[in-house]
Each structure stands twice: as C-alpha cells, then as structure tokens.
C-alpha cells in the first residue's frame, strides 16, 4: 500500500524533508507500526515516536495509535503552538 507521510514544523527540520511517499507492506496496520518502520529507515525518525507528537490523518486530528490504509496521508505534528 502507498502512504503519504508529512513532517510538520520542527519535524520537517529534523527529518530534512517535508514529505515521503512510501510503498509499505500491508502488515503495517497502524500509526505505531508505521513509526517503527520509519525508524528502521532513518534514526531521525525516533523523534516521531515521542508521545507528545500528534497525528493528522487525511483531514482530521486523530489519536495514537490510529489505523492506516492504502492512499492515506499521515502527518506527524509537534505539539501545537498557535495563538
């Protein structure tokens, strides 16, 4: 399956990129399995595993873990600092 992964704000700096479009094995069923997979590709992805990191799946803020499926866009978000 194909998942688009976005790295927001400071995570973009940390990962050195805005986005990955990855072909993933179907065994990756949720955000936490995906995070573990990303950590095997790049140690910088350890930052994504931090419990303060929030998720936006397609157009919604979702809890961790959340299920992912083919065609999804999952954004990793540092804590929000608006206002």
């Amino acid at each position: 399956m194909q998942i688009t992964i976005r790295y927001m704000a400071s995570l973009r700096d940390r990962m050195g990129k805005r986005e990955d479009i990855l072909d993933l094995p179907d065994t990756i069923a949720d955000s936490e399995a995906l995070t573990a997979h990303l950590q095997t590709l790049d140690p910088a992805a350890n930052a994504l595993a931090h419990p303060a990191i929030r998720l936006i799946l397609n157009d919604a803020i979702v809890p961790r873990p959340s299920a992912v499926k083919d065609g999804d866009t999952l954004a990793f978000c540092p804590p929000f600092t608006g206002g």
């Binding site: 927001m8 704000a9 303060a52 954004a75 978000c77 540092p78 929000f80 608006g82 206002g83």
Partner: protein
C-alpha cells in the same frame, strides 16, 4: 443558533475593524468580549512566523467556537488567526464572543484562546538576530486547555 466566524489568513488583522463589525451586530446581546494576541517584543526577536495545516486548522477552530457557543449560549463566536510572518506588535489572533451576559462572553473568549493554543495545528517559529527556532509548547498552555476540558466533562457527566 450562534453565528460562527472563522478565518485563517496571511492578511494583517485589523482588530478595531473586527470589533466594530461586532459592536451592535447583536442588539439582543449586552456583552461583547474580545481578546487580541500580539507579537510580543523580546530581546533579539525580529519576527514570528506561523505555519498551519490548512483545512484541519479551520475545522479545529470551528469546533472550538461551536463548543464555546453551546456551553455559554453565545450569539456569535469569532476566531481570526493570522499565519505567515509577523513583526513585533502585529496581531496574531483575534477572538471574540457576544452573549446576553458579560460573564458568558468573557469566559467563552478565555476558553477559545486557551483551546486554540493547544488544539489547532499552528506552529510558531521565532526569527531572532541569532537565527531561527521553533517555539516549544508550554505546560501552562496544556494545563489551561485541560482545565476547560475537565470542566466541560464534569458538566456533561
């Protein structure tokens, strides 16, 4: 049914004009409360830059305003948030509420500003004369949002 108005834009926010648009707009409301958040002068600070997650941000702000409107019987709830680069003194966010009674309007504004700090996908970057860095989330902001969440949960229980 309350009127909700949400905008997220790169354009400067004219607080006075926004307040004028609300003053008198609800003749059945005695109270209009507002909060303006501005870029605060700090040693070395040159500008703030606000990034967000389009579509999700607006939806998050809409939910916050609707929750406030329901809880405090507002007639109108307004959140205007700026994104992009802002200099010292410029307006980051304008939040306002009209209600028949003053306490409701003031509490609703407090709720909305507290919640949008932790529940809407904005990220703040500081550009200073020493370089740029992302602003870290503050525990006090988290606590402020939790306070309201707990309060609303206990009322619903």
């Amino acid at each position: 049914m309350a009127t909700i108005s949400i905008t997220v834009s790169h354009d400067p926010i004219d607080s006075g004009a926004r307040l004028d648009a609300l003053a008198g707009a609800d003749p059945d409301c005695g109270g209009l409360a507002s909060f303006v958040g501005q870029v605060r002068e700090e040693p070395g600070l040159v500008a703030l830059e606000l990034e967000h997650y389009p579509a999700v941000t607006e939806k998050a702000l809409q939910t916050i305003a609707e929750t406030a409107a329901r809880k405090w019987d507002l007639h109108r709830a307004v959140i205007h948030h700026r994104v992009g680069r802002m200099e010292i003194g410029e307006v980051i966010v304008f939040v306002a509420a009209t209600a028949p009674h003053r306490r409701a309007a003031l509490d609703a504004v407090g709720y909305m500003i507290d919640l949008l700090k932790t529940e809407a996908p904005f990220w703040k970057q500081v550009h200073s004369n020493k370089g740029s860095h992302w602003v870290e989330a503050r525990d006090t902001d988290r606590d402020a949002a939790d306070y309201w969440t707990d309060q609303i949960a206990s009322e619903d229980a």
